[in-house]
């Protein structure tokens, strides 16, 4: 048998390469099916979350009341579970979704991009997951109506209330299938984001990235995320697009500045503003707090803490600004979680915490 040196060298390279590739391939093993975590029921029921009935429950509630940011963001790499589901690290959602894509591409090398997208949607946007998002969307929309409708005439005039509610009603939930629903955002199937946008034609819609469906099953997180994005449709800067900014918004923004939620130099719409993001965080806290309030009688103290933690757990990871793209202007996690969500009076009431000191929180107030 002839053994040419070049053949031996090539064979050795191929062998070493295969061994190395198998070792590296381990990084991508695991659940590539796209099934991800099983979505929890949309009904809030008392179930056995893995953190429930924690022996230090009372101590954890006390710690949450004292420092919600610290409790929410401790052990940042850990998956956190509440009675309705879990919240994983942001990046794991992207990795999971891209695993699904990788599996499809390697199994069907001859498929065109439409076929790949259709399969990606089939595997990620399952009927069960889509129904759950739709249910949360309806719930959030109803809660936004409630928050606005309960304000009396001293806060919003009839016309202002109508303008706000009309915008709430115009926001569509835009989900696949079919995959063509995201024809103008074909990459979103693999993104761990829920986002609001207003198109050039004035259409307002919410979209949900596929990675989010694989990464997060907590009802509380879903509701907060949807409520935050939904609220952008009625934030002061978006309302300005319709040239209708309720007078009461001015007083609310003044309060945002007084509490330190908005930098005084960034309190007007336009470049570098913080108003719209803070408004969306504040409104989302209003919406979620009613859900947490409902859980008060069903959950243990530890479970209530976990529900509150998971509502905003993904905010712990502070996004790094991308220079020219830094138009979003979210506040720091310490302020978003510790001083806004964690000081919401209903959130605190549901935990049994002391009331929020007067002046530390904002609410709609009568027009001046």
């Amino acid at each position: 048998m002839v053994k040419h040196p070049a053949a031996i060298l090539l064979g050795t390279l191929l062998f070493l390469g295969t061994v190395f590739a198998v070792i590296r391939g381990n990084l991508f093993r695991g659940d590539a099916s796209g099934s991800g975590p099983a979505p929890a029921s949309t009904n809030i029921t008392k179930s056995a979350g893995k953190d429930s009935n924690h022996p230090g429950s009372a101590e954890r509630v006390r710690r949450y009341c004292a420092n919600p940011y610290e409790v929410t963001c401790e052990n940042p790499t850990r998956t956190t579970t509440d009675p309705t589901g879990r919240v994983d690290l942001q990046i794991s959602g992207e990795v999971r979704a891209l695993r699904v894509l990788r599996k499809i591409l390697t199994s069907h090398a001859d498929w065109n991009s439409k076929q790949v997208e259709d399969q990606l949607v089939t595997e990620i946007y399952t009927e069960k997951r889509v129904k759950r998002i739709e249910s949360a969307y309806r719930w959030v929309k109803a809660q936004l109506h409630t928050v606005i409708e309960r304000q009396d005439a001293s806060v919003f005039s009839v016309e202002e209330k109508q303008a706000i509610l009309s915008r709430v009603d115009r926001v569509e939930l835009n989900l696949p299938p079919p995959a063509s629903n995201y024809a103008d955002a074909a990459d979103v199937f693999t993104k761990n984001s829920i986002y609001y946008e207003r198109t050039e034609t004035g259409q307002m819609r919410l979209r949900v990235g596929g990675a989010y469906l694989l990464n997060i099953s907590s009802w509380y997180n879903l509701v907060f995320s949807l409520a935050h994005e939904f609220s952008h449709a009625i934030d002061p800067c978006e309302m300005a697009a319709d040239a209708v900014v309720p007078t009461a918004y001015r007083e609310l923004i003044s309060c945002f500045v007084r509490t330190g939620w908005v930098d005084g130099a960034r309190n007007t719409c336009g470049d570098n503003e913080q108003v719209s993001e803070v408004f969306a965080d504040w409104m989302a806290a209003e919406v979620v707090s009613s859900s947490l309030g409902n859980s008060e009688k069903d959950y243990s103290g530890e479970q209530r803490v976990q529900a509150a933690v998971n509502s905003v757990r993904d905010l712990c990871e502070e996004a790094v600004s991308l220079d020219v793209l830094s138009t979003q202007n979210h506040q720091t996690p310490a302020i978003r979680i510790g001083k806004m969500f964690g000081r919401n009076p209903l959130v605190r009431k549901s935990m049994g915490c002391e009331n929020t000191p007067a002046g530390d929180y904002c609410a709609f107030s009568p027009r001046k």
Partner: protein, 162 residues
Amino acid sequence: MKKNASILNPQVFLPLLLLGFFGCSSTEKNWVPSEVSRDDLRESSVEVRYTLAQNNYRLQVAAVNGEVNGYNGVNEQPIERQKIRSVSYLNFLKKASSILDSLKKKMKNEEIKDCKTPFLLTVQRSGEPLEKIAGCRSHDSEGQVGRLIQEGEFLFYSPPTN
């Protein structure tokens, strides 16, 4: 999947590429679009930065001295780093250049103001000035930016077809 992953690995891919390069170079040359050339493999890059809600994404594919590497990350955390096939990259570079030209005609840089879905596309061709366009994906009704990002992700995971 494991089998395909091993083929994508540089240690396996390199010898095959060498064989392919000497044995099939004329075939590969035909695949390279006329607008781009193998000169672009000396030093060029495509980068798309974009924001969705609170997440900032960056997809970058760059060629330096004939070697093409890709990076895909969110909030400055890498999701994937991968060597990319040069032929696939040149096609991607061509598409990115074409989309950038098309967007420049339709969008103005100031459109990212008040935009919830801003993006920045940068294309660097060998020996040419840096080209870039910032805009709002909500105004990209044809979805060109989304398609480019998707194709960029496909570069990372598609098995070799030649």
